[in-house]
């Protein structure tokens, strides 16, 4: 099938407009579709979109700060990266729109972390606490931490 407009090139774009009482169908080649303004612009990738959206800066950005890692919203916009798992909570109202535009969605519907025993992580953290207590020569605290470690079946005498 040839293009309805130029009648030369093969039609590769099919356009259908449905209005009450009237249906228009067009078969166009790419060049003619472009002329009629029917072609979509090249879609920006999420990453390109992010770079573009991060350019929108405001004087207030310096004052919005993550209370855990102290990353400011301004710095987030410069680097395009979060500083910790709490940044989202502190930046939420300011970045909701940005995330929605990048992903065309604002709600995670996928998998969730499985609630496991997390034993080794707790043990790891307790050992860190123990190390710090010993550094400070806080032996009473250290003894308590050792007891808690024993609850996990770890006899940590170091």
């Amino acid at each position: 099938m040839l293009c309805d407009d130029c009648k030369k090139k093969p039609a590769t774009i099919f356009f259908k407009e449905v209005l009450p009482g009237k249906v228009t169908e067009l078969h166009l080649c790419e060049a003619c579709a472009q002329k009629r303004g029917l072609m979509m612009d090249k879609k920006l990738s999420p990453f390109e979109l992010l770079q573009k959206l991060l350019q929108k800066r405001s004087a207030k950005d310096e004052q919005v700060i993550c209370q855990v890692c102290y990353l400011s919203l301004a710095e987030f916009k410069r680097q395009g990266r979060f500083g910790c798992s709490h940044c989202i909570e502190h930046f939420r109202p300011y970045i909701e729109n940005l995330i929605k535009q990048i992903h065309q969605s604002s709600k995670h519907v996928g998998r969730r972390p499985k609630q496991g025993a997390r034993k080794s992580f707790k043990v790891f953290k307790l050992r860190e606490e123990l190390r710090r207590a010993l550094e400070k020569e806080a032996y009473e605290d250290a003894a308590q931490i050792r007891d808690r470690l024993k609850d996990f079946g770890v006899d940590d005498a170091e």
């Binding site: 999420p46 995330i99 992903h103 969605s105 519907v109 996928g110 496991g116």
Partner: protein
């Protein structure tokens, strides 16, 4: 001598539809995960990154047995080779922090520790095999998640350094060999269709890399708002569609110019079996013709596994590891030709 590249595992058969193994070269799935109790990469101090490495390592070693590779103990050639084998990302090599890599026993799952995200869990396999490889990646991710708490938000899912990975943190991709569509000039049209439904299209080595050997990588761009299974199914469906149009393009080519194409395929094989000097790019292009020949049944005495292996081992760093020698470019081209002749039962006289 393949043992010289100790992480090289030839792609296995089987999967979602193994008959397409010539067109769908490989399938890959990666998950980005961060631990809630550590700052993310831009705020992570070297000392903390060491602790994170140590902690993750102890957990992964138990949950997902395999070999641990301390990146700083590798030579630059070995690091480059990991990249050529698609086991690590280019960004991983640029990290100025302690980094580690985990490879499971089968060599199809790799975990980068201290990349842009704390953990990047990746599965890589031959053919169209996304369902199977993603199941393995999720199993591994879940095992690790029982011991380490992932950063997670009710609205935004798994939290990642970069907002573009929020939600599932999942990137699924397939590497496609599309000589038919390249030849009939339809490839751009087909790939633009992929872009319109939210997929990214790239060359063999990811973002910004050139299209060589008629190889294209297709992956999802969005990670939020869709279930992991939906993202994967979309890519599988799209892949089937592209395989279909590729087959049609091939039929058209063969109806029009069967002898010319068979000639091109056999000439390519003859060059691969006889050449004395061979660059990486030339290898990729000739292998593309050979692959095409195997797919169309024109070539019967070379297996796809051999082609896949050559595709990997012929890369600049891998070929040096294969011969256990540091080789200058010209020397490399000579040894590459030698290796290929050997693999294809070529002409030594």
């Amino acid at each position: 001598m393949l043992n010289n590249i100790r992480w090289l595992v030839p792609a296995k058969q089987g999967g979602d539809s193994s008959e397409d193994r010539e067109i769908v070269v490989s399938s890959r799935v990666r998950l980005a995960r961060n631990l809630s109790d550590f700052p993310f990469e831009i705020k992570l101090k070297v000392k903390d990154s060491e602790r994170l490495l140590q902690l993750s390592r102890s957990v992964i070693e138990r949950d997902c047995p395999g070999q641990y590779i301390d990146m700083k103990e590798l030579t630059s050639l070995e690091r480059e080779s990991l990249l050529e084998c698609h086991l690590i990302s280019p960004a991983f090599l640029k990290m100025n922090k302690p980094t580690g890599l985990y490879l499971n026993e089968h060599g199809n799952i790799s975990i980068m520790i201290n990349e842009e995200d704390h953990l990047r869990i990746q599965g890589l396999t031959g053919g169209l095999n996304l369902t199977d490889i993603s199941a393995q990646v999720f199993e591994c991710e879940e095992e690790i998640g029982r011991d380490l708490e992932y950063a997670f938000d009710e609205a935004y899912g798994f939290l990642t350094s970069c907002p573009t990975n929020l939600g599932t943190g999942l990137r699924a991709s397939v590497l496609l060999h599309l000589p038919g569509l390249v030849f009939t000039n339809e490839v751009e049209k087909v790939l633009r269709g992929a872009l319109q439904i939210g997929m990214a299209v790239r060359g063999l080595y990811g973002e910004g890399s050139e299209i060589k050997g008629s190889l294209f990588q297709i992956s999802n761009q969005h990670t939020l708002g869709l279930k992991e299974e939906e993202l994967i199914q979309t890519i599988i469906k799209l892949t089937h569609m592209i395989v279909d149009v590729e087959m049609k393009a091939r039929d058209a080519i063969f109806t029009k110019a069967k002898h010319e194409f068979e000639d091109k395929i056999f000439r390519s094989l003859a060059v691969l079996r006889s050449a004395r000097v061979m660059s990486t790019d030339e290898t990729l292009n000739l292998l593309s013709a050979l692959r095409f020949g195997i797919g169309t049944g024109t070539i019967k005495d070379v297996s796809l596994d051999v082609v896949n292996e050559i595709m990997l081992v012929a890369r600049p760093a891998n070929i040096q590891l294969y011969f256990s020698q540091i080789l200058e470019e010209h020397e490399r081209d000579i040894r590459r030709a030698e290796y290929i002749r050997k693999k294809l039962g070529g002409n030594e006289k």
